[in-house]
């Protein structure tokens, strides 16, 4: 009886730990995007540096509390790939983080959300589709821009 209880409790702990370890590790080991001011237009600068063409650009404001506006870019490359990027700046870390939570809470069915998000300081950059050679090229520059602005703050 005692042995059962010991084993039983051990297995309950095992079960809980088997969930919390991978989920906790993945979340805690990931780099948290700090909130700080990034100047200029990160997407335009990244596109210019990588030789990607900005086919069109227009102002856009998301209907979210704390959003202060941004732009919608259509980017193209010489291989005929196209990517739509929307940027949006937020007036506080809480407002930006709420937008990230909102995105993550909208998966299609039981799958993943459509597109992908890159956080650049006070900006959220939303890309569709999530898999694109253009995004692959400009993401390192966006992240570098965010990093360097974070160090300089």
């Amino acid at each position: 009886m005692t042995k059962w209880i010991t084993l039983e409790h051990g297995l309950v702990v095992f079960l809980v730990v088997m969930f919390l370890i991978p989920c906790g590790l993945i979340i805690l080991a990931s780099e948290e995007a700090s909130y700080h001011m990034v100047s200029g237009e990160p997407v335009r600068e990244a596109a210019n540096l990588t030789g990607i063409t900005i086919a069109s650009v227009k102002d856009t404001t998301w209907n979210l509390p704390g959003s202060t506006g941004g732009k919608t870019y259509v980017l193209t490359d010489t291989n005929g790939n196209s990517l739509t990027l929307e940027t949006q700046a937020f007036d506080s870390a809480d407002a930006r983080d709420a937008a990230i939570r909102l995105y993550n809470s909208h998966p299609v069915g039981r799958g993943k959300p459509v597109g992908s998000l890159v956080v650049v300081g006070q900006h959220i950059v939303y890309a569709t589709p999530a898999t694109s050679p253009i995004l692959e090229k400009i993401t390192p520059l966006l992240k570098e821009k965010a990093r360097s602005a974070g160090i300089a703050k």
């Binding site: 059962w4 084993l7 297995l11 309950v12 095992f14 079960l15 809980v16 969930f19 370890i21 991978p22 989920c23 906790g24 993945i26 979340i27 805690l28 080991a29 990931s30 948290e32 995007a33 700090s34 909130y35 998301w62 209907n63 979210l64 509390p65 929307e86 949006q88 506080s92 809480d94 983080d97 709420a98 937008a99 990230i100 939570r101 909102l102 995105y103 993550n104 809470s105 909208h106 998966p107 299609v108 069915g109 039981r110 799958g111 993943k112 959300p113 459509v114 597109g115 992908s116 998000l117 956080v119 939303y126 890309a127 569709t128 589709p129 898999t131 694109s132 050679p133 253009i134 692959e136």
Partner: protein
């Protein structure tokens, strides 16, 4: 045979579920308003995407679920079905993958519930992590409390909730879309042609292709409630058909209604369903309907949460009752609810929700976690489709009041389409998005390792299995 199983099962409660209640369980699990704006962006081609989802998943899982539920109407749903084909290890693994998939998914639906409710109150509330966490916990533990009171209470809640929170909002959107169409207002979509309905399938849209296949995941949910079903052999196939029809009609028509009213560039996927709903009702001249819609859609989210929270937990209760988990897991209350499983899943889900709310900017982490949920769910369905095929060979004479038509070719076509769809979704689900800093191998390794860790506990439990774990062994309780 069935009666023997039922009477021997202390978990089974009163037989309260009929055709309508069963169908509503599936509708609650699958029909989600929050999918509509995401799909409406694709304009007429959303029809093509839905057809792909229906052919590669919805129709196969509905037919397979109907055959399996009528052939093996024991409790446990996918556990009972896969166990027949691949033994306890297979059945337990399938069920556990569905359960663990839930635990990683719960924070997303809880966050959706909290942010949608905030829209009805003060949208800026969603910026407060404390508001979010408080509402998420009230919704989570409140739904767990409803499950605590057993099948009768959760069925009543589910029936009312799914009508108010999922079907009525979808119908309202459809009616307004029809009214918009008939009023001569500007239609933002180009004229409908056959070509416009064909979705663009290429390397960039492959991940979305995989997502579409799991758009209708949850059609097997009614199977978990077999022991409380009045006439499973008769009611399951009809419930599958009824729920599939409701889900398809509501989903396709409501998506198109949104697509004809809201320009694609206003359907900002990074914001949410309520932003689209607000635009929709403002365009229709009924902005006062936004707050009531937010409340209804919140209720729809809670009902969806309840369907996924109760079904697999009941299945795990059956697994424990059969002696495959320690006795702690098969503790049931006087209402027949598996309280220990419900409490453990609420505790784990709460812990993951805590991280989700207070560490939102680790966006890459959530992508990996959502990729893991996709992989876990694919494992469940691969096992279910493989089971329906295998059982035609291993147990050909077991009475199946509903059989997939067409004999062996029919079962191979239906099961094969489902297997293809889910195996494809599994493989494509491993594709990293382009913004990932880590190499592709690291990403794939992380997702597979995480999936493995979340899928492997059944093997440990079976390894440690003791004869005394069997319910009523030695009159332990």
């Amino acid at each position: 045979m069935t009666d023997e199983i039922i009477s021997a099962s202390p978990v089974s409660g009163k037989k309260v579920l009929g055709l309508f209640a069963l169908a509503m369980i599936n509708v609650a699990a699958v029909l989600s308003i929050r999918n509509f704006p995401s799909m409406a962006v694709y304009g007429w081609s959303c029809i093509g995407w839905y057809i792909i989802g229906a052919i590669l998943f919805l129709i196969p899982i509905s037919l397979a679920g109907a055959e399996l539920a009528t052939g093996w109407p024991q409790g446990g749903g996918v556990y009972a079905w896969v166990k027949q084909a691949f033994g306890e290890k297979g059945g337990f693994t399938a069920l556990f993958c569905e359960w663990s998939n839930n635990l990683v998914w719960f924070p997303t639906v809880l966050s959706f519930i909290a942010s949608t409710l905030a829209f009805a109150l003060t949208p800026a509330l969603a910026n407060s992590p404390w508001y979010m966490f408080t509402v998420m916990m009230i919704a989570f533990w409140g739904t767990t409390a409803i499950a605590y009171f057993g099948e009768e209470v959760s069925t009543k809640f589910g029936n009312v909730g799914v009508i108010l929170g999922s079907i009525i909002p979808a119908i309202l959107i459809i009616i307004l879309g029809v009214w918009w169409f008939g009023s001569g207002a500007a239609i933002v979509l180009p004229p409908l042609t056959l070509g416009a309905m064909v979705p663009a399938i290429n390397f960039s849209t492959l991940p979305f292709f995989a997502t579409i296949i799991l758009l209708f995941a949850g059609m097997e949910m009614a199977g978990f409630h077999a022991l409380e079903t009045k006439n499973p052999q008769k009611d399951f196939p009809r419930a599958m058909a009824l729920s599939a029809v409701i889900i398809v009609i509501c989903t396709v028509l409501a998506t198109l209604a949104i697509a004809v009213v809201i320009p694609a560039d206003k359907l900002n996927l990074a914001s949410g369903v309520m932003q689209a709903i607000q635009y929709f009702f403002a365009a229709a001249g009924m902005p006062w309907l936004v707050a009531p819609m937010a409340v209804l859609i919140t209720l729809g989210g809670v009902v969806s949460l309840a369907a996924w929270l109760i079904g697999p937990a009941k299945g795990l209760g059956i697994v424990a009752e059969e002696g495959n988990m320690p006795p702690m897991f098969d503790r049931t209350n006087k209402y027949g609810a598996p309280v220990a499983v419900l409490v453990i899943q609420a505790l784990i889900g709460s812990a993951i929700s805590l991280l989700y709310v207070f560490l939102p900017s680790v966006n890459q982490a959530y992508w990996i976690l959502s990729a893991m949920t996709v992989e876990l769910l694919c494992i469940v369905y691969i096992l279910v489709f493989a089971s329906v095929i295998k059982l035609r060979y291993s147990q050909p004479d077991t009475p199946r009041p509903f059989r997939i038509p067409g004999g062996m070719p029919g079962i191979w076509i239906v099961g094969g389409l489902g297997l293809f769809g889910t195996a494809f979704a599994f493989i494509v689900g491993l594709m990293p998005p382009s913004y990932f800093a880590t190499s592709g191998i690291t990403y794939v390794g992380s997702v597979l390792l995480g999936t493995f860790i979340l899928a492997v506990p059944p093997l440990v439990f079976l390894k440690c299995k003791k004869p005394g774990w069997l319910k009523n062994a030695g009159e332990r309780r």
